[in-house]
């Protein structure tokens, strides 16, 4: 699978699944890989180093995906600088865990804004250049909890379920322009987001995974790469589960 001459944007690309995706695109020959990050400058620069080492032109843009104006400007800036945008990976996400009776309005809003409004704003901006170029691929990173729910993640799971609906609607709207829109739904992946879970809970969760272990960011990245490239030209509106079988 080659991404030669492709311009790729991965949000939340400084760490975890986003970084693994960015690196996978660079390894697959993408000419330009742009990551966005919310604040971790050191991690972002480290990712840029990894991308450059693979021979890609790399760039790190600092903006909050919850800020829709920033999303629009970012996409416009990319198209101005690089002439096109071929792949958008909406990966940036945030979780603030707590049982529903204790969820504050601001935590609800923050999770909906980052996990759902951000992808919407970036899709709205990215579909214009993609429509003009008569092609493109968008991959939204959702979550297994969007399908199965999870105690303590009312807002996160609602946003991730919403992202699946968004994926399918936009897939239908943009199909006539050769733009494919899909989602990848990771299960329990070894990242900073899952690092804080205690051992008991971790063992319990692993007990519910037929493949008997956590997934890696690289395993999720391979699914994102597949849905972004020429190996999946007849697939749109799909939600590809990468979860070791924990939800089928």
């Amino acid at each position: 699978m080659s991404f030669k001459d492709k311009v790729v944007l991965v949000t939340g690309g400084s760490r975890g699944i986003g970084r693994a995706c960015a690196v996978a695109f660079a390894k697959a020959g993408a000419s330009t890989v742009i990551i966005s990050y919310a604040g971790n400058e050191a991690a972002a620069q480290e990712t840029v180093g990894l991308l450059t080492a693979e021979g890609a032109k790399a760039e790190a843009l600092r903006f909050d995906v919850a800020d829709t104006d920033a999303c629009t400007s970012a996409v416009e800036g990319i198209v101005k600088a690089h002439g096109r945008l071929d792949v958008l990976v909406n990966n940036a996400g945030t979780a603030v865990d707590g049982l529903v009776m204790r969820v504050k309005d601001e935590d609800w809003d923050k999770q909906l804004d980052t996990n759902l409004r951000g992808p919407f704003a970036l899709i709205r901006a990215a579909c214009r250049p993609m429509m003009k170029q008569r092609g493109g691929a968008i991959v939204n990173v959702t979550s297994v909890v969007g399908d199965m729910g999870n105690p303590g993640q009312s807002a996160y799971s609602a946003a991730k379920a919403g992202l699946i609906g968004l994926t399918k609607t936009v897939a239908k709207e943009l199909s006539s322009r050769g733009i494919r829109v899909n989602a990848v739904s990771p299960g329990f992946i070894s990242t900073d987001m899952t690092a804080h879970l205690n051992d008991d809970l971790r063992q319990k969760m692993i007990g519910g995974i037929p493949l008997g272990r956590l997934g890696t960011p690289e395993e999720v990245a391979q699914a994102v790469l597949f849905l972004s490239g020429d190996a999946s030209t007849y697939i749109t509106g799909e939600v590809l589960k990468v979860n070791g079988g924990m939800y089928m």
Binding site: R128, M131, E173, L174, S176, R177
Partner: protein, 80 residues
């Protein structure tokens, strides 16, 4: 901006967007029936005209723009 300048520019945008020859674009041409536009084309056309002429075309107004002449009229009336 004179009506003839607006007309020329609107036809240019339509030709570019829909990939049709400018000679096919007449004031009475319907975007959908005569020029083969689909709903996405209409949205793109409206956005392109908003940019070119620096006017805002609200959705409820855009729904009434069905022909090339409708578009030229709208711009002529609303362009400051």
């Amino acid at each position: 901006m004179s009506t003839s300048v607006i007309e020329t520019k609107v036809k240019g945008i339509i030709a570019d967007q829909l990939g049709v020859g400018e000679d096919e674009i007449k004031p009475e041409s319907s975007f959908i029936e005569d020029l083969g536009a689909d709903s996405l084309d209409i949205v793109e056309l409206v956005m392109a005209m908003e940019e070119e002429f620096e006017v805002e075309i609200p959705d409820e107004e855009a729904e009434n723009i069905k022909t090339v002449g409708d578009a030229i009229n709208y711009i002529t009336t609303h362009k400051k």
